[in-house]
Amino acid sequence: MTLINDTHIEVNNLSFCRGERKIFDDLSLTIPRGKITAIMGPSGTGKTTLLKLIGGQLTPDQGSISVDGEVVHTLSRRRLFELRAKMGMLFQSGALFTDMTVSENVAFPLRVHTDLPDSVIGDLVLMKLNAVGLRGASELKPAELSGGMARRAALARAIALDPDFLMYDEPFAGQDPIAMGVLINLISHLNRALGHTSVIVSHDIQETLSIADYVYLISDGKVLAQGAPDQLNGSEDPRVEQFMKGRPDGPVPFHYPAQSFEEQLFGGSQ
């Protein structure tokens, strides 16, 4: 395991339930500053929920999450919003503001958090849109963009303020191979050049592992495995191996917990 000296985010003994269902059970992990950390795991393990907990949009049932040494869920509302101004988040759906054009969306964080003149904001927006290949789409409304384009525009907005810490929720989903390559380079470049701390939640194993410094594999509310990408690729744990190689059969169930198929199928006729 890599020795983590400078911790940016620390999750301690986190438990979180949605109704009766336990999403996290005594989960602990640390996210190092200035590195790209990938959080992976089967669908429904609460990876997006973890990002929302880090961002203070949800409150843990037990345990704590600290960002820069501050326990997120104990912060006052004002302080929480100040902390969020230093974070960037790329939502799975993009979550662009539908009443604004693409360029207005990207300019929005700059307008509310800085006193920069309009001309400078305009230049910054152009740069960010150029980085994601959407300079030509600046005057389009979000409804006119495809899913992949909307996510790229949302990425431009997330990086508009050059935040200290970026959370990417499925950044590669729905991207064509060219856009995928550009995004991988962009995320990697942002991290190396500006020293952002990045957390990527993704199912695209090869793409994510190609840029991640450290990987957490989460399953059943706990950390199943962690380490550098090579360590996980070479893991002999059958559960890790099944996920990393995408095998349908193995100890990690594909099906959501249910009674046996046979019983359910023939139960009514017997």
Binding site: R84, A95, T98, H113
Partner: protein
């Protein structure tokens, strides 16, 4: 039996919790450091969507209700030879009751449902979460301008409704049925008191506006973020608002005019 009690208890707890959340929403959105430079453009935009775009339905309804009042009033009063009092009847009915109540009902249907659906959809598409993560409080940016726009628009719309209604009444009574315009307006002027009738009507419309827009933003913000959830929240806005308007109208009327 125990299960029934449990369900009843859970429902009651949910209702009380919802009232608490609605109060929290109100305090979080309204109690804050004033930021006129940011708030003013947002407020003007919402005044347009909530107030100006409701004008057509308010004016048309006001006109027809005033005309119907004029006609009905004339038909009844003419039997007693008191048709000159139509103006007084139309004005008092409108100013005291119909303008605030009907405007609020129309307002709930036109603007309230639109506000709920808009906020609900913003929640479903994670736009509210996105504001939060950018470090902008959606309570201040989204909820507060809509609340203020509702408070401001409703009394103005109610006044416009009353004015157009009275004009509609005069169209029927004076221009069509031939009542002497001097007695129509003089009777009205003599019997409508500003401090009792007009002011009480304005107070009613302020209360209704507050309740309707509060219900609308709360239902939008509290809805289950799915298409079904938004549809249910929109329905709840119209139903709860209408019931609240009618219930409160009785209470307010009893308080204002009940000292017999």
């Amino acid at each position: 039996m125990i299960q029934l009690l449990q369900k009843l208890g859970a429902k009651s707890v949910n209702r009380v919790a919802a009232v608490g959340r609605a109060g929290q929403l109100l305090s979080q959105s309204l109690i804050a450091k004033p930021a006129p430079m940011t708030m003013l453009p947002l407020l003007v935009r919402q005044l347009y969507f909530i107030g100006v775009l409701s004008l057509v339905i308010i004016i048309v309804s006001g006109l027809f209700i005033g005309m119907v009042l004029g006609l009905q009033g004339y038909t009844i009063l003419v039997d007693y030879g008191s048709e000159q009092a139509v103006g007084q009847m139309v004005a008092l009915s409108l100013v005291r009751e119909l303008a605030p109540v009907v405007t609020a009902l129309l307002f709930a249907g036109r603007a309230g449902s639109a506000v709920t659906a808009e906020i609900g959809l913003m929640k479903a598409t994670e736009q509210l979460a996105s504001y939060e993560m950018i470090g902008v409080d959606p309570m201040r940016r989204i909820i507060a301008p809509r609340l203020w726009a509702g408070f401001i628009s409703m009394p103005l719309l109610s006044m416009i409704f009353a004015i157009v209604g009275i004009w509609g009444g005069s169209l029927v009574a004076v221009d069509w049925l031939g009542i002497f315009s001097g007695s129509f307006w003089a009777n009205m002027q003599a019997s409508v008191s500003f401090s009792e009738d007009v002011l009480n009507g304005v107070i009613k419309s302020l209360v209704f506006g507050f309740v309707v827009i509060w219900i609308a933003v709360f239902q939008g913000n509290d809805c289950v973020p799915t298409s079904e959830g938004i549809s249910q929240a929109t329905t709840r806005t119209v139903v709860y608002s209408s019931l609240a308007i009618l219930g409160l109208d009785f209470l307010l009327t009893a308080m204002m005019f009940g000292d017999f």
